[in-house]
Symmetry: C2
Subunit: 306 residues, 2 copies
DNA sequence: GTACCTTACGAGATACGTAACCATC
DNA sequence: GATGGTTACGTATCTCGTAAGGTAC
């Protein structure tokens, strides 16, 4: 049996939010846009409320939308209630954040340095909280998130896991190809995606989904030549060792090149490779206030470009 | 894509209601009972809120439940907001009810008369509104509801239609068997379910689902003898004509006997037939304020016994 | 051992988007 | 004919109940 007609509360907050936004915008399309839903949804939500209440809240044609007197009154009442509600929730959340939550953020290599502006902004906003960086490996990008060892990962897109939420992009940049200093390409100064077919790339193993690996390490070049997957490695340093030894090459985000000068390895820009987006990612069911606060800060700050 | 993190409103009203009730009861079981949900649901809802807020709202063991300081404060804030919200919605709804809504209620035969106390109570509570009775036939109990021709039907239970909501029971009573005045049973003064097997009963046709028809006109007697379905009829008066002519007998709620003395027909009580419940029923998507008001009135009044 | 809160999992309900439709200018 | 609100319908998501599990008395 479902909730039944216990009493009151026949309308949900989501519908109220839609109503209030429409009351402000007086335009279904803009309302939908602001709330990131389809115009159809706005229409459905408003109709539902009007059915429930048995009164028209808006007078509308396809040319004009306006509040009815009942709607106007309802808007005032609901706005006040919602403000109160948000204030209460915000206060409780602040109590949690103030108590000081530690956020473990997993990044590749030393990318944490590049994210310094974000961390600083976050710390400034939420003095009680803090961010610690941990390392995450391409061979296993999600496990630490799922076990709860980390709260957030900074991963290249696309990430399409049903249990994970992809938040704002924090970093954008190009790609580089890591090659041995002895490699013939090293002297060219740049590399192309086509060059991958002439070399082995590291095999990251089965810990990462194929679609995600392929977006960094394609299986074919743009012209369709197969890219051979070579020796296996799990960590960043294992990869660089294999590259330095000349056993293979490997594509990486250019963040990797920023604070690394490993002996015997050269990073060659790949101008023809599409740009990368790195986004905050977390377990959907573990979106605590600290995670949301970081995401909000990142969204306000906008992506950092390399 | 789902709603996204547009802004606030991360908690739904239903969860808030659960939180507030638990804050009052300080007992998961009682809270669940009051809200007509399972204890598991209460636990889930509270945990979810605590995850979202990142703070414990209740201290609890399996022996004791109490509010944390944060929870106590949140309760005050939310209670105030919810009160405001309900007041606003109630005002809008009252505006609709005050504008005078006409409710079309479908009943069998003259059952409307028996419902007089309900109608009077409803009219007294909502002076702007009114109830009109229309007739509904056993051969087609739902169509008028689905087309919107009627707003509510008074139907015997069980009603199990996915698009219909079953509200409070308004009437309880026994059953009678309509037989011709010439029928051998007429002199006995009462009838038994077993007697049905010796006579044809009216066939109501395909307009009503079998489970519903069978609850009034079984296909077999308690002892398992088949009950023959005889001539077809759609309306109440058609049924009585067939019965009067001696072509068949037919079981009915005893409401039917109350205000009817059709010539040539006798109604025999059936003491061994289980009692009937008659409940308000409406289209789930058409539960306007008038319908809810009637349902609430009926719930407060309790069922009328014949 | 009993009362009672929690976790795991599956089924049903509902929110939502897409696409086609209709109305107003 | 362009802009903008509505309806129909299928799908993804979430709510919720059932059942099994844990914990304090």
């Amino acid at each position: 049996m479902r909730g039944s007609l216990t009493l009151g509360l026949l309308v949900e907050l989501r519908d109220i939010e839609i109503f209030l936004t429409l009351a402000e915008e007086l335009h279904f399309g803009r309302t939908a846009e602001r709330l990131r839903v389809s115009p159809a949804r706005v229409s459905q939500a408003v109709s539902k409320q009007e059915r429930r209440l048995g009164v028209a809240l808006f007078d509308r044609t396809s040319r004009h939308v306006s509040l009815t007197p009942v709607g106007r009154r309802l808007r005032e009442d609901l706005q006040q209630a919602v403000d109160l509600l948000q204030a209460g929730l915000a206060r409780a959340e602040a109590a949690g954040l103030g108590a000081g939550q530690r956020l473990r953020v997993g990044v590749f290599g030393h990318a944490g340095h590049v994210l310094r502006p974000l961390v600083d902004a976050f710390r400034a906003r939420y003095p009680g909280s803090d961010v610690q960086f941990g390392e995450v490996y391409g061979s296993d990008p999600f496990t630490a998130l799922r076990t709860g060892d980390n709260d957030v990962h900074v991963l290249w897109l696309p990430v399409a896991e049903p249990d994970l939420t992809v938040g704002p992009t924090v970093l954008t940049g190009g790609r580089v190809l890591a090659v041995s200093a002895d490699h013939p390409l090293a002297d060219r100064g740049t590399a192309s995606l086509e060059d991958l077919a002439d070399n082995h790339v590291v095999d990251l193993g089965p810990g990462a989904p194929e679609y995600w690996v392929a977006s960094m390490v394609p299986t074919r070049t743009p012209r369709g030549r197969r890219i051979p997957r070579g020796p296996a490695a799990r960590t960043f340093h294992e990869i660089l060792s294999l590259v330095a030894a000349g056993h293979c090459v490997h594509p990486l985000g250019d963040v990797a090149a920023r604070y690394n000068s490993p002996p015997g390895v050269v990073f060659l820009p790949m101008p023809d490779a599409p740009a990368l987006q790195w986004a905050l990612t977390w377990r959907s069911t573990a979106d605590g206030p600290a995670v949301r606060a970081l995401a909000q800060t990142a969204a306000d700050l906008g992506p950092i470009s390399m």
